[in-house]
Amino acid sequence: MKANPAIKIFGLVIAFVLVAPTIIVVATAFTESSIITFPPKGFSFRWFEEVLTSRQWIEALQNSLITGAIAAVLAVVVGISLAMAAARGTAIPRTGLTTFALMPMLVPLVVIAIGVYLAFVQIGFYGNVFALGVAHSILGIPFVFINVLAALTNLDPRVEEAARASGASYPITLLRITVPQILPSAFVGGLFAFIASWDEVVVAIFLVTPGFKTIPVMIWSQVREGLEPSTSAVSTVLTVVTLVVFGIVALLNARKSKRTATS
């Protein structure tokens, strides 16, 4: 049954309201004036220029990218490991393990941030990409876990049995047959994990130092002081990177569904 026109129009209005803030931020980044105005006055790249030539911002950008990469790689490895035990392990009940792996999604971010802060600072593990990468990997694990678990459940176990019959031991089968088959799903999960780290502030606030900041942390402290067009420019960069990553995810999914449709 088709929706009636009134509902369609209401839907369009809501959809517009949903995207409007993003559009407004991006638009204000191109203003010529030194205060944020909407509609923006004139058109210039001056705020992008300012951001991309600032050593502080470039360092933060690097920190964010490396932290995200570390978090994603850790989340992929750990997520695959957990998903294997959940999909096929015996000793631990599946629902228990699944709940455990999804816990980082349930526990409020602030709580994770406080916990990580209390524990990591205790051992002096903060203020660098590794510490923040490890902390952020927690947030990415559920995404990898969900994706890989689905992929593992769809695998044909006989393919692995064929490898075993071909003379491959369990570990070899795991590395040569199972992992390559779930890698595309793990990769998508890893991209989600990257984004989870890329735009994360709360945990980061607790682990940064004056000498080590990430982009969201910089935006956070700027925004609390006042509204500047440079913040809009950085936000635009942040959003573009996120959209590119999700674009890759969408592309991969489209390819996957196309492949399953043809075979």
């Binding site: 509902i7 490991s81 096929r88 455990f100 602030v110 984004i195």
Partner: protein, 299 residues
């Protein structure tokens, strides 16, 4: 007298897994150990800290001090309001997405995902730009002469509500959309063919069948709202803080990590309580929705 075999044995459990599945448990050990180390132990740290820094009296303070209990109560109220609004606004959008032509559905879906994928911090920042004294809304109202001086739209619970609803609507929409798509078109057609008006088809067939999605989306939005920090911190006023702001304040400003930890424990307990009750009726997977993307503070 036919050739069909009469031998019908009880279906043997077909073991398709490896003979020694313990290997897979073994493969899971590194992951389990890692998650316990970097996630489990920090949570234990919080509990320990809340009981020992300086003493379990922290919990008494959380409950008794009107300031903290007020922020806790305020958080629950806001979360409830956000949930109701997100569902009320999200439902028609989900319905329009699920029951429109391909092109409109795609436009609506793209808008939803664009919003969903934009960093929460950026979206909150956007609301600052919009609701500011010199922001879009005030400029418009001043320009049209409706008001003479800017009205305070920011640094209050109204702004917090607007920001949170805006950020959480997509979660509600995705859950409702999934359940609306799960309704077979024949069911609605059957009701129509039996003479039900479109409104009656909706209220008697579609709405009841989509309620599980509404419930799943509602629980998710409610639980996420309980833990929101960035949005209330940037859009809210100093007088009406939420529980997660209290936690951060205790740890960062007042340097009372023991108090902050106790509040964190209360917050987690509240969230887990909601989940435990909810999962008695709806699966955890359904609440979390596999379609979900991170989008910043998705917890």
């Amino acid at each position: 007298m036919t050739s069909s075999p009469v031998v019908t044995a009880p279906a043997a459990p077909r073991r398709r897994r490896f003979e020694r599945p313990n290997f897979w448990t073994l493969a899971g050990l590194p992951g389990i150990v890692y998650l316990i180390a970097v996630f489990g132990i920090p949570l234990v740290f919080i509990v320990v800290r809340s009981l020992t820094d300086p003493s379990p009296a922290n919990y008494a303070a959380v409950v008794e001090d009107p300031l903290y209990s007020a922020s806790l109560w305020r958080t629950v109220q806001i979360a409830f309001l956000v949930t109701v609004l997100s569902l009320a606004i999200g439902y028609p959008l989900a319905y329009a997405m699920a029951r429109s032509g391909k092109r409109l559905a795609m436009v609506l879906g793209a808008a939803l995902l664009l919003s969903f994928w934009t960093s929460l911090l950026v979206r909150t920042f956007a609301w600052q730009v919009i609701l500011n004294n010199t922001g879009l809304v005030n400029q418009f109202l001043l320009g049209t002469g409706i008001i003479d001086e800017p009205i305070p739209l920011i640094r209050n619970l109204f702004a917090v509500l607007v920001g949170m609803v805006h950020i959480l609507i997509p979660y509600a929409v995705l859950a409702i959309y999934a359940s609306l798509r799960g309704i077979k078109p024949e069911v609605e057609q059957a009701a129509q063919s039996l003479g039900a008006s479109p409104w009656r088809v909706f209220t008697r067939v579609t709405l009841p069948l989509s309620l599980p999605g509404v419930a799943a989306g509602g629980i998710l939005v409610f639980v996420l709202s309980l833990g929101f920090y960035i949005t209330p911190a940037l859009l809210g006023g100093p007088g009406d803080i939420l529980i997660s702001q209290s936690v951060v304040l205790q740890v960062q400003q007042y340097l009372q990590p023991g108090m902050g930890a106790a509040m964190a424990v209360v917050l987690v307990a509240l969230v887990l309580l909601v989940f435990v009750i909810a999962t008695r009726f709806i699966g955890l997977g359904r609440i979390l929705g596999v379609t979900g993307a991170p989008g910043g503070e998705s917890r």
